[in-house]
Symmetry: C2
Subunit: 118 residues, 2 copies
């Protein structure tokens, strides 16, 4: 899932294969829409770290920088109506060079087809 905020996109890590999210993050960073925040909760936290590591070491080596990683606790209500604490992580990634498309539109969102292609 990809959300567009005023300063960039958020990619939420879920049950899909790691590479699905890797391509989402690379696509977002290449679109020139600004920084991307990779977010995950609970069991998906390890996968979020995998996604960021594959992006910055294999696909965009030397072209991205990590921001400050934030961990937190979210209080959720499960299906039985009970509250449960779940850990979360947010990992910001920014391009250190210009996007390959050459577009200088850093603050404008990409066309809708970009985020739904993968």
């Amino acid at each position: 899932m990809t959300d567009h905020g005023p300063t960039g996109a958020t990619v939420f890590i879920g049950q899909k294969p790691t590479m699905t999210y890797v391509f989402q993050v690379v696509s977002q960073l290449n679109s020139g829409a600004g920084p991307v925040v990779v977010k995950a909760r609970g069991n998906a936290i390890g996968k979020a770290v995998d996604v960021v590591e594959v992006v910055r070491r294999r696909f965009l080596e030397g072209q991205v920088s990590l921001g400050t990683i934030v961990i937190d606790t979210e209080r959720l209500v499960n299906r039985e109506g009970r509250e449960a604490n779940v850990s979360s992580i947010a990992i910001p990634l920014s391009r250190t060079g210009p996007a390959p498309g050459g577009s200088a539109a850093i603050s404008s969102p990409p066309p809708p087809s970009e985020s739904s292609r993968h």
Copy 2:
């Protein structure tokens, strides 16, 4: 597992229950031996975040601060002799107030019995 370096202790997160590591980290922080770094690889990364969140929100609320979280990739050789990349995380925790023991010996390691009690 707990290692003592010159500037504090490292707690490696593995297969044991989350609370086992929570008690290790709290014990280390209470011993006055300096900052504690919680480290994990692969599947244990989510548990490392859980451990830190339980320590700083339940057991030592308002008494610890998070340092800069570092993620990395380690190249391991598995049992078949093939190389595999594994993500890792390191989360530093420091006490913001004095340890309850009242000991001012911030730089001296705790007695051996402290780290093997749990």
